[in-house]
């Protein structure tokens, strides 16, 4: 046998082998695979906007027959076949929106149908970056995600598959160097996705088990025991132990002028990690356990006993925690007792009124370590209930310009906010005027029936812990708002039906409330949830759009929210960023 003949036979055998593989339906690698490529990836709508979709096939033997369909808003639109073998089409995207391209391939084997949604943007689309937060249902053990997405103005947008990482099972123990298990609160923060926090608790033996993203994390550990210091620790996917210890004993002294304050609660936050809680002794001294680090920003909080009338103290600085903290309320800060003050409404006493005295105070003292000194601010919040004659019992508060939040009737949310100036003395009465009722209408393109209004208290109401009020508009979008006198709210108007986007109006008062508020257009952001390696759809996941640049609670208040349906699909109506 000559070499050439040997090569021919070998090649023939190899070819036969390949043909056999391609025709096999058993091997995973032999399954017909079709992918679609869109060019350009984000077309701009217009008469000259040509969109090309190209099909690539693998393991699809024989002469292929391509059956294309293109639809826009469920209606078919024309296209041209632009490749001789029909594997490529071109269509004109006249209007912005979501175009759906579907391809069926006929061949010697069964090729799955492929479809792709093409997002066509309007010219001059403005963008808004937001966070997409997905919390899977508890029935599937998959960690949450929180990723940045971009919303385009003037058009609906399909995110396509939103793929969740099934993650890894993190099983381990929180323990001391002496191998003693530690019950603790755990907050795992994945690298690069700081809002996708997974919380857990270790049990009495220190054991924990939770599902985390398959990446490195930082974990906040707050032991239940006050003898162990909370810590922020690195965590890797192979790690099974979280070690805690007593940290550093940090000492200090709390005084009012030169007088020691006993029974005050003290806590430090060192670069966001809390210390243990300490309580001052009779001489004002305290100790807490923490993990100091050089240059760390330290927040000092002191909660004196109510009987002192002193406000809660806060101070921030890069304190040297190796030396004692000297926390001193200013001797100039005096208090007043409102005992005997009467609560009245329109001249009549208000029996059983609940009065919360609140106020924010600047420069109420200092916090000093060595050469480092910081000025402390304060917050007062004291609540008492008037007797049947509307007269207050003992209520000690700082001698400062404060506010009194009066709850006349809790059930009907009958409130009033009254200025309470204790600078020079104690008033004999606190006046709680009646509520003021205002009517406003929530509009979209037309009155929005069933519109929702969340009134988030600000100012004195917020300090008093008054909760958010949720109001619902009637069939004409009309909402009746009862304003306590002197109250302010941040108003969040929204449309649960998704016809319009959310609108926020800050510092809304009875004097500033408008007769109507028009909500801007909304665009729909849609997608489909999947889990890597899991063919099942994810039903019942919480899908939220959250503010990217907000802080505080606004960072957690969704701009839009939905639950994924049986197919794992979701649709979120978010405010339209508009077009230029």
């Amino acid at each position: 046998m000559t070499t050439s003949r040997w090569l021919m036979i070998t090649a023939a055998l190899a070819a036969a082998s390949l043909v056999g593989c391609a025709g096999s339906a058993d091997g995973a690698n032999d399954e017909c695979n079709v992918s679609l490529l869109v060019t350009p990836s984000t077309p701009i709508a217009g008469p000259d906007s040509e969109v090309t979709v190209t099909a690539s096939t693998q393991s699809a033997p024989g002469v292929l027959a391509f059956d294309w369909r293109v639809t826009y808003m469920s209606a078919p639109i024309p296209f041209d076949v632009s490749a001789p073998n029909e594997s490529e089409i071109t269509f004109t995207a006249l209007e912005p929106g979501i175009y759906e391209v579907t391809l069926d391939i006929g061949s010697g084997s069964i090729c799955p149908q492929q479809s792709i949604r093409v997002n066509v943007l309007p010219s001059g689309s403005t963008t808004l970056d937001v966070r997409l937060h997905v919390t899977p249902p508890i029935t599937i053990d998959v960690p949450p995600i929180d990723r940045r997405i971009r919303v385009f103005g003037g058009t609906d947008y399909d995110l396509g598959p939103v793929v969740l990482d099934p993650g890894v099972r993190a099983i381990g123990n929180v323990r001391t160097a002496g191998n003693v298990g530690v019950p603790a609160y755990l907050a795992f923060v994945p690298d690069g996705m700081s809002e996708a926090v997974v919380e857990s608790f270790s049990d009495a033996a220190g054991a924990y088990s939770t599902q985390l993203l398959n990446s490195d994390h930082e974990v906040l550990v707050i032991p239940a025991s006050s003898l162990l210091a909370p810590r922020k620790l690195p965590w890797t996917t192979t790690q099974t132990t979280l070690m805690v210890d007593g940290g550093t004993l940090i000492a200090g002294l709390v005084r009012h002028g030169g007088v020691a304050i006993a029974g005050a609660r003290v806590q430090l936050m060192i670069d966001g990690v809390p210390s243990t809680l300490g309580t001052t002794a009779g001489d004002g001294s305290f100790t807490v356990r923490g993990v100091p680090s050089s240059g760390a920003m330290v927040a000092v909080e002191v909660q004196p006993p109510v009987s002192t009338g002193l406000p809660r103290l806060e101070a921030f600085g890069t304190f040297d925690l190796g030396t004692s903290l000297a926390i001193t309320y200013s001797s100039l800060l005096t208090t007043r007792n409102l005992a005997g003050t009467q609560v009245r409404r329109n001249g009549s006493i208000v029996p059983g009124a609940k009065v919360t005295v609140v106020g924010e105070l600047g420069a109420i003292g200092t916090v000093v370590t060595g050469a480092t000194s910081a000025t402390a601010s304060g917050v007062t919040r004291v609540t008492v209930t008037a007797d049947a004659g509307g007269t207050l019992p003992s209520l000690i508060a700082p001698a400062a310009a404060l506010s009194a939040v009066v709850t006349v009737d809790a059930a009907s949310q009958d409130l009033a906010v009254a200025a309470l100036d204790l600078t020079t003395g104690v008033p004999s009465t606190i006046s709680a005027p009646s509520m003021t009722t205002k009517l406003t209408t929530v509009l979209g393109e037309a009155p929005l029936d069933g519109a929702r209004l969340d009134l988030v208290p600000t100012g004195a109401l917020a300090l008093a812990g008054v909760p958010t009020r949720q109001l619902t508009g009637d069939g004409n979008g009309a909402v009746v708002i009862s304003f306590p006198s002197g109250s302010k709210y941040d108003a969040y108007f929204s449309d649960p039906a998704g016809r319009s986007g959310q609108r926020v109006v800050l510092d809304l008062t009875s004097a500033t409330v408008g007769t109507s508020y028009t909500l801007g257009a909304a665009v729909n952001v849609s997608g489909t949830l999947r889990v890597t390696g899991n063919p099942n759809r994810i039903r019942g996941a919480s899908v939220q759009i959250l503010c990217m640049t907000c802080s505080g609670l606004d960072r957690d208040r969704p701009l839009a929210e939905d639950a994924s349906d049986e197919a794992g699909d979701f649709v979120l109506a978010v405010p339209d960023p508009g077009t230029m």
Partner: protein, 373 residues
């Protein structure tokens, strides 16, 4: 004269000088595959010819099939066969009507066979098969967005066909409702328009909206009738009462009792998902029947004996600011949910969670123990 001839004939035989061919015999035939039961109009019939030729000759067959109403009557069959085949195996579709448009009631099948020398089987084999009307086909289906809860609409679909008479001859369908005691069976069904499937002209689709006024076992009996026959199909429907809503997701994590969740910052307590038959969260837009879950929030501060409801806190979120409490305080934040059916949560205030149906996977109350830090 005759006697002389016989002598000559006998002499010839004996002498071997007289020759004659062997006589060709006729084949014998039978028809195989006669159906055991009556045929339906439109059925596909397969019959096979079987022959035995004593001479071993090759045999050819000729089938003729006649559509009949009464094969014994003079004009009981069409004079011309509707199918003629020269094959061993006859395959035919039973016709729907005779040439005179009368419905076919029987078939007359005639099989003839001839061997290669032209000998024909005598007699020819004949088969008379009864043909009956094929009753309509009827398939029922139902769907509901509302979990088959009493008082909510259920879409009921009927797909009807009739292979021999055509679907148009079957309509209209007859719908009868049977319900539990006290059920309103008269007003439970209302017509609903439904487009026909252009790709399936052999069937017609009909729809009704069925709104059961009470929970229980219901039966919908639908009858389809063609000119000769009818078929009834029963669809059982178990209608349920509106079940309680279930807390499906909670944020932040609920600590295992008696552990407390340390809180340092203002926190939004939230119920992102509630599962319910009708009043779920997030609410579903553009639906006049689906509603939204009711939320109530309460707080138990240090020194309080029980949880105190927070007026105005009626959304799925509750903002809690630990700054309103003293450091180290343990506060309980509680959410309770309800749907449109008023159902008291009768658990003790001290119970952290509660299920009105004693189902651990379906809680209507959950409590966070929070330590202010």
């Amino acid at each position: 004269m005759i006697r002389a001839a016989l002598v000559l004939f006998a002499g010839g035989l004996v002498a071997g000088c007289f020759y004659a061919d062997e006589i060709n015999q006729r084949p014998a035939i039978t028809i195989r595959g006669e159906p055991a039961q009556a045929l339906y109009r439109g059925d596909h019939l397969v019959l096979t010819a079987q022959s035995e030729d004593p001479d071993g000759h090759y045999v050819t067959y000729r089938w003729r099939a006649y559509a009949c109403t009464d094969p014994t009557a003079l004009d009981g069959c069409d004079p011309v066969p509707f199918d003629t085949e020269l094959v061993e195996t006859l395959e035919l579709d039973v016709p729907i009507v005779r040439a005179n448009d009368l419905p076919v009631a029987s078939l007359r099948i005639v099989l003839e066979a001839t061997d290669e020398l032209g000998a024909t089987a005598r007699p020819s084999e004949e088969l008379v098969l009864a043909v009956v009307n094929r009753p309509p086909s009827l398939v029922l289906d139902r769907s509901s967005r509302y979990a088959f809860v009493e008082g909510t609409p259920i879409d009921v679909f009927a797909k009807v066909g009739d292979l021999d008479d055509g679907p148009a001859k079957v309509a209209p369908l007859t719908w009868v409702v049977f319900g539990p005691a006290g059920a309103d069976t008269v007003n439970a069904l209302v017509d609903r328009s439904l487009a026909q499937d252009p790709e399936d002209p052999d069937h017609l689709q009909f729809a009704k909206v069925f709104t059961p006024n009470m929970a229980g076992d219901w039966t919908l009996r639908v009858t389809a009738m063609d000119p000769f026959d009818s078929v009834s199909v029963d669809m059982m429907l178990t209608v349920t009462q509106d079940g309680p809503p279930c807390l499906a997701q909670l944020q932040p994590i609920v600590p295992p009792f008696p552990v407390a969740l340390p809180l340092t910052d203002p926190t939004l307590f939230s119920v992102p998902i509630v599962i319910d038959d009708l009043d779920l969260y997030p609410p579903q837009p553009d639906d006049e029947i689906l509603g939204v879950t009711s939320f109530t929030w309460s707080v138990k501060a240090p020194g309080q004996a029980t949880h105190v409801a927070i007026p105005g806190a009626t959304s799925n979120t509750f903002a809690f600011d630990p700054a309103g409490y003293a450091l180290g305080d343990v506060v309980e934040v509680r959410v309770q949910i309800a749907d449109r059916v008023p159902e008291a949560i009768n658990c003790l205030d001290s119970e952290q969670s509660c299920s009105v149906i004693s189902q651990p996977t379906c809680m209507q109350r959950q409590t966070w123990r929070v330590e202010v830090r």
